[in-house]
Amino acid sequence: MKVLVPVKRVIDYNVKVRVRSDGTGVDLANVKMSMNPFDEIAVEEAIRLKEAGLASEVVAVSVGVRQAQETLRTALAMGADRAILVVASEDVHQDIEPLAVAKILAAIAKEEQPGLILCGKQAIDNDMNATGQMLAALLGWGQATFASEIKVEGETATVVREVDGGLQAVSVRLPAVITVDLRLNEPRYASLPNIMKAKKKPLEEKTPADYGVDVAPRLRVIETREPPSRKAGVIAKSVDELVDMLKGAGVV
């Protein structure tokens, strides 16, 4: 079984984002970018499936700017076998919407015929949490979202999902799309020799036109602004003073 893993290049999760003062967006020039943390978990899971003899090949895919090559090389260094980059934008500030990404991924899935697609549950930049579900819909496949445990057995995968109020286990017929949550695994670091080897692994470059997909946005961004900031608070010197403050403010 081939496993397809979509990965996204996003602002590093530790970076405090800066909103441009003219309201046109978030400043991404000269900012550290990394693989979306949820996608690292998806790559790790795919590699573990391969190590367990359940997957034959792991293909990493990214849709975005040409620099997403680095993100794919990271996936290759972790253990993916080959990569496909779909260059859909020249400008790092243009985020390709989940619907367009899902259409491109669906076209790739039709070519590659994977038995399983593992996605991160959401990208930490647009916080949409939609691409995996949209991809499953477009392919007419089953989906299991927010996975914290995946067991592949024959023609099905049993997935424990993180839902409101606890956990839910479902079984989904393969091929399927599974989106992964934080607690699924601890992604490995790529070793230096593996980073070197990754440079020789195949990375194929494509465009949305190759798949006949229009990436024009459906949502026009009118404005991006800073959230209202909170006014500075006060520090109490003791528990008694804190209690007095809270009672004085009427919050308890």
């Binding site: 930049d125 409101d164 404005e223 608070g233 109490a236």
Partner: protein
């Protein structure tokens, strides 16, 4: 304009709070028809929410566990009669609505915090560090509502209940079991007061001081990711970008440093109180009231004095 609102249904029945808050948001867009995929009792309760024009009840066994595939098929079948398909941004809705949107060939707009007009919506991006206003050109707008930003519509309505069309289960996935964390405390996302613990709590046993203060305040208990990963607290207590988003009247953060990902889940709380032994902890930058102290002395003392 007509809105189809997917009710939040849990194993216990209607998720009233989430549904009623979404009704408040949806009313601004037009007549609200609520779809209840669940038992009749949940539909009867949904019908009492003020502002609901009609309730559609789908009692099919195929929808029993709200699996995305049959649920999305039903919503897609109903969608052509509506300009908007809306749901509170729960785990269920996040599972189902993007699937609906793709089947309708429209974008989904996740976690809407404000509705400007019928096609213009505001939503947080980058873990709540930026607010984006987007205008949709799609013929049907599919959106999930971040309920923390809306007041719950009151009871007092009496909408008629009709049967929804039947669905056939595409058989792509099957429910196996639920592992529900039982709690006698208020539900985290709707609680007026939330007391959360972080890595500073140090152990599962240590979480008792968090729970005692929560019980003293009639609060729900939350946790940071660090506390959940360390096994101090169950995962459904997690507050943050990847957990739940809360906006209670009072949020008490105990032993939580205040990472960007945690702040994303609680920085819209009305009043934030932080107790941490590290005076440099970023949580103090958003806290209205802070105390630099050892938790194991300060929290029991605070619990006693309140």
């Amino acid at each position: 304009m007509a809105v189809l609102l997917i009710a939040d249904v849990t194993n216990d029945g209607l998720g009233f709070d989430a549904t009623a808050k979404a009704v408040t948001a949806a009313r601004a867009l037009g007549d609200v028809t609520v779809l209840v995929m669940g038992p009749r009792a949940a539909a009867e309760e949904a019908a009492t929410i003020e502002g609901v024009a009609k309730v559609l009840l789908a009692e099919d066994a195929a929808l029993g566990h709200r699996l995305a595939e049959p649920a999305a098929d039903l919503v897609v079948a109903l969608a052509p009669g509506f300009t908007h398909v809306v749901a509170p941004a729960t785990a269920d809705a996040k599972n189902i609505l993007p699937r609906v949107a793709a089947l309708l060939d429209v974008m989904v707009i996740s976690d809407v915090t404000a509705i400007r007009d019928a096609e213009t919506f505001e939503r947080p991006i980058y873990a709540g560090n930026a607010l984006q206003t987007v205008q949709s050109s799609d013929r049907i707008k599919v959106l999930t509502i971040r309920t923390a930003g809306f007041d719950a519509a009151p009871r007092g309505g009496s909408a008629p209940i009709e049967a929804a069309p039947g669905v056939s289960d595409p058989g792509l996935s099957q429910w196996v079991e639920d592992r529900v964390a039982k709690s006698g405390r208020p539900e985290l996302t709707s609680a007026r007061v939330v007391v959360s613990g972080g890595r500073g709590i140090g152990s599962k046993e240590g979480f008792q001081i968090v729970e005692k203060l929560a019980d003293r305040l009639g609060a729900a208990v939350g946790a940071s990711r660090a506390a959940v990963d360390a096994g101090y607290a169950p995962n459904d207590w997690q507050v943050g970008q990847t957990g739940k988003v809360v906006a209670p009247d009072l949020y008490v953060a105990l032993g939580i440093s205040g990472a960007i990902q945690h702040l994303a889940g609680m920085k819209d709380s009305k009043t934030i109180v932080a107790i941490n032994k590290d005076p440099e902890a970023p949580i103090f930058q958003v806290a209205d009231y802070g105390l630099v102290a050892d938790l194991f002395e300060a929290v029991p003392a605070l619990t006693e004095k309140l």
